[in-house]
């Protein structure tokens, strides 16, 4: 018996070392943690149960049968994070460069299936050189198996991918289909075709970092939702993100304890500047509404004219979508529409209510917008919001002009509660533009065009640049004081907690993709 036990312990010891101490040291030198260390750090103390530690590959081509590693380059299993069950796979760069083989993919698919069955989040720590060339088509098949399961799990359980090393070629499609992609500054990169092939085909010289590093993907492409400074921060950020999400689509996120107060926030009374053309930081409005320090921004540096993220309202997890007047006056454009639309759909999948803060002067004009298809992408956001059945509440802080008024969660598209501040201007367009059209004759007849325009502009603004016409029609449920916003929202969401909405029976709609 003792020999048998020794045999087992030896195998376990070997498996724990992955590709060997030397390779682990190399990871450390590059300021990266090994796969096992990442899992240890992420999971609650002593909670991780590994599945498939002794799996090995089955290839013999190219002499592969001489190189066998237990685990085959990926650590899979389940554990708890802050007491909640999660499933995880962590690719081990020290084994064959973390490359994906048939068996490597099988391990990942196994935990993905378990996650769906048990209704718990799936976390992937990606750190892989790509397909294991020696396996040929078998590794491609492995990838596809994973992709298929990503889709089956999509909208059923939250799926989070953290890119903590290379992720190239076909491998990138899995994170792309998960709900959130996190990257580590300086040590991770993602692209479909790497710099070498790019150079060969297009003669462009570019580094991995420039092509697909964390900065590129968080500012230019929007592929990365969160960027962290190092491995430790990335894992901490991941834990924090999870705290806003439920275990599966059958649950609502856990509510933190909160003792209610008068919930008045006087600082909001001073946020909107006197002049309607002066910008202000919408982040200030957000912080004046949500629980202290509870904002977790997604896509912070991408399409900055709109802000999305998670927060808490009296302990409840909520999603926030807000125009940002500081950037491009807060207009809606191609990228901001896409950013907000996907976020909306995620929240709708997972029963996270939405707060929409509106200060939008319209859509961004220009040929590149039109030729990019702002028509389609703007419609994405309109569609996503209209389709969402989670409680959604709107607060118009200042401008809400034209079609953008409709799009930003107006009453007509099914918003549950619509509030407006006294500074709200709900109109078909800005006073200047409108006056130029409506009073065209009067202005051209007048002696002083400028003065007449100004006069008419002011007239128009008096009459229409306010929330009252909309309020008179019931398009706005209540005009509220800025400092009362948090109070009103807390009460509204409490009232909306058990909302049940019926959608027509169909396979799925056809959102303009």
């Amino acid at each position: 018996m003792e020999n048998k036990i020794k045999e087992l312990n030896d195998k376990i010891a070997l498996a724990s070392l992955g590709g060997g101490l030397k390779r682990i040291q190399k990871q450390h030198e590059k300021k990266r943690l090994s796969a096992r260390e990442r899992v240890d750090y992420l999971m609650d103390e002593g909670s991780f149960e590994e599945i498939g530690m002794l799996v090995t590959h089955r290839t013999s081509d190219f002499g592969m049968d001489k190189e066998i590693y237990y685990g085959d380059g990926v650590i899979t299993g389940y554990g708890t994070i802050n007491g909640r069950l999660v499933y995880i796979f962590a690719q081990d760069f020290t084994v064959f460069g973390g490359s994906l083989s048939e068996t490597h993919a099988e391990k990942i698919c196994k935990v993905m299936e378990m996650a769906v069955k048990m209704g718990a989040p799936m976390i992937g720590l990606n750190d892989s050189g790509g397909a294991r060339i020696q396996e040929g088509v078998r590794s491609l098949g492995g990838y596809a198996d994973i992709f298929y399961r990503n889709v089956q799990a999509s909208g059923v359980i939250p799926q989070i991918s953290a890119i903590m090393g290379p992720c190239a070629g076909g491998a990138v499609y899995s994170p792309a289909m998960t709900d959130f992609t996190m990257m580590v500054e300086g040590s991770s990169y993602m692209f479909v075709t790497g710099p070498n092939v790019v150079k060969a085909v297009t003669n462009e010289t570019v580094t991995s970092e420039e092509l697909g590093g964390a900065i590129a993907h968080s500012t230019k492409s929007g592929v990365a939702h969160i960027v962290s400074g190092n491995d430790q921060e990335c894992l901490d950020d991941l834990k924090r993100l999870l705290s806003y999400l439920p275990q599966s689509n059958k649950e609502t996120p856990a509510k933190l304890p909160y003792v209610l107060d008068d919930e008045i926030r006087m600082k909001l009374a001073a946020v909107i500047p006197e002049s309607t053309n002066k910008p202000y930081d919408m982040h200030e409005v957000i912080s004046g509404i949500i629980d202290t320090d509870s904002f977790y921004e997604i896509h912070k540096n991408f399409a900055e004219n709109i802000i999305v993220g998670f927060a808490r309202l009296a302990g409840r997890s909520v999603g926030i979508i807000a125009n940002q007047p500081l950037f491009l006056a807060g207009v809606l454009g191609v990228r901001s529409s896409k950013k907000a639309a996907r976020f909306t759909r995620f929240c709708d999948c997972f029963n996270i209510p939405l707060i929409v803060l509106v200060d939008v002067p319209g859509f961004l004009p220009g040929t590149d917008q039109e030729w990019e298809g702002i028509i389609i992408h703007g419609a994405k956001l309109l569609y996503a919001l209209s389709e969402a059945t989670v409680p959604r509440v709107t607060v118009i802080t200042r401008k809400a002009y034209g079609g953008a008024y409709d799009v930003m969660n107006s009453k007509h598209i099914g918003a549950d509660m619509n509030f407006a501040w006294p500074t709200a201007e709900i109109a078909v367009m800005g006073a200047k533009g409108a006056s130029e059209i409506i009073f065209k004759k009067e202005i051209s007849d007048a002696e002083d065009h400028e003065a007449k325009l100004l006069e008419k502009e002011n007239e128009y603004a008096e009459l229409f640049a306010n929330p009252y016409i909309a309020a008179q029609r019931g398009f706005i449920d209540e005009v509220i004081l800025p400092q009362d916003t948090r109070r009103k929202l807390i009460k509204a969401f409490s009232m909306l907690e058990n909302k049940v909405s019926v959608t027509p029976n169909r396979k799925h709609g056809n959102i303009p993709l």
């Binding site: 609650d44 103390e45 002593g46 909670s47 708890t80 007491g83 909640r84 069950l85």
Partner: protein
């Protein structure tokens, strides 16, 4: 006398009120904003708010206090110690308003309030004094010359100072000017009077003081001595009665000298005459404190009297019923001042909330206390939490009871002088009685206590780690 107002706070206010209550006299407490929830406010029969938290906006507002006293028809005001207790103007105002001031006459306070005037008054009674300068220093250069004459090290003392404040030792000539300037500035800030004088610093000495009580019928008694040599930064931390070195002859000499000092300023009420006692058994008059002192309890324990009661009787005009020959020393008493100070960080004040505050109780233990669990230690006043006093039939017994009491005294939330006290009472030099005012400088360093803490920290670490290993074994399931 039907009603007394106690113009003070904390433990002394409660201490005075306890005796008043015993004597059937009603009590009035005064408090500042910070003290609204203090025990002394709850203890009194009536309580009046007198101002904002800083002392100079509340407890030092003599006129306000007198106003309150008049409105409430108070018969007498007891000033406690510190604050206005040695403020001659206040005493005068009180009397002018036809209220009895439980303490000496304004004139006595004035004379003994200035160390220089005190020395002058005492001169004619042939009482031994420390070599020094008899007048206030104005010219620093002149002072430096005088200091050189007296010989370094010298002591710079604030004339209006007391309670250990306003004193600085100057070891060498090069430090003289800075120290002088600092001392004057401190004196102005603390006492409103920048006059300082210098005297020789007696390196190895003990601080022994005599408790006296004088009535209005010409009787002056002495209630034996108190040994107060365990001091840090010239402030007393530990006192005992009787001293372990005085012989009955010297005790008698010092007692009688103290009585003369009291007579020299026409004293009334409770007072303390402080002496410097050198290694050759000589004693020198230092100063007289014209108030009831913090450490009065130890004298009460060994002589079996209630000094506050006597104060009130004397203030009422009664003659002291005891005779000097009837007073005998019985047993031995020790006092540890429990300050909210970090004895490991140069005794800097430790501010915080008293999360846990439980007094020790038992045979031979007395705690004059001013705080309760859950209270904040305010930054506006002296950081003294209480006085821990123990009494035994012998000095050894008193020390043993004290050590047990320190262990039983549970305080969490602030650092205190309790560990320091433990260190002293366990130290051979203290236990043998062979110590002087250099005790702290000579024997104490934070390292000593750190050492002990280090041993305990190691145990804590090992136990925690052991528990951690045990906890690891327990199965944990997702919630």
């Amino acid at each position: 006398m039907k009603k007394i107002l106690v113009a003070n706070r904390g433990e002394i206010a409660i201490r005075v009120m306890k005796t008043a209550q015993k004597m059937g006299i009603k009590t009035v407490a005064v408090y500042s904003t910070a003290d609204r929830n203090s025990p002394h406010v709850k203890y009194a029969d009536e309580a009046v708010w007198i101002g904002e938290s800083p002392s100079n906006k509340s407890y030092l507002l003599g006129s306000k206090i007198i106003e309150v006293a008049k409105v409430l028809n108070v018969d007498a005001i007891h000033p406690g110690y510190g604050f206005l207790s040695e403020n001659a103007e206040f005493a005068d105002e009180v009397e002018k308003n036809n209220i009895i001031f439980i303490g000496p006459k304004p004139k006595s306070i004035e004379i003994m309030g200035s160390k220089l005037a005190a020395k002058e008054a005492v001169l004619k009674y042939n009482i031994p004094m420390v070599p020094g300068v008899d007048h206030a220093i104005i010219d620093i250069e002149e002072a430096k010359e005088t200091a050189k004459l007296i010989g370094f090290p010298i002591l710079i003392k604030a004339s209006a100072g007391g309670g250990g404040k306003g004193m600085r030792i100057v070891e060498k000539e090069s430090d003289f000017e800075t120290q002088m300037n600092r001392a004057i500035s401190e004196a102005v800030a603390a006492f409103g009077d920048g006059s300082v004088f210098i005297e020789k610093y007696v390196a190895s000495s003990r601080h022994i003081e005599i408790q006296i009580m004088a009535d209005s019928h010409g009787n002056v008694l002495y209630f034996f001595e108190r040994e107060c040599s365990i001091q840090r930064r010239h402030q007393k931390v530990i006192e005992e009665a009787p001293s372990s070195v005085l012989t009955p002859e010297i005790r008698k000499k010092m007692g009688e000298a103290a009585v003369l000092v009291a007579k020299s300023c026409d004293y009334l009420g409770a007072g303390t005459v402080e002496f410097l006692y050198d290694e050759n058994d000589n004693f020198y008059f230092l100063e007289m404190n014209t108030r009831l002192q913090v450490e009065h309890p130890v004298s009460e324990m060994i002589s079996g009297v209630d000094l506050v009661e006597l104060q009130i009787r004397v203030a009422r005009g009664e003659a002291l019923a005891i005779k000097q020959e009837d007073l005998k020393i019985k047993g031995h008493a020790l006092e540890l001042r429990v300050y909210a100070e970090d004895c490991m960080n140069d005794f800097l004040p430790s501010v915080g909330l008293l999360d846990v505050y439980q007094l020790p109780t038992g045979e031979g233990i007395r705690v004059d206390n001013g705080f309760e669990q859950g209270m904040d230690v305010p930054i506006f006043y002296d950081p003294m939490l209480s006085k821990l006093i123990t009494y035994g039939k012998s000095r050894e017994e008193a020390i043993e009871i004290m050590l047990k009491a320190i262990d039983k005294y549970k305080i969490e939330g602030v650092e205190t002088t309790l560990p320091f006290g433990k260190f002293v009472f366990e130290h051979e030099a203290f236990r043998s009685g062979k110590f002087d005012t250099n005790f702290v400088k000579k024997y104490y360093s934070p390292e000593v206590i750190v050492d002990q803490k280090a041993k305990e920290a190691e145990i804590a670490a090992l136990i925690a780690l052991k528990q951690y290993f045990e906890d690891q074994k327990i199965v944990r399931l997702p919630n």
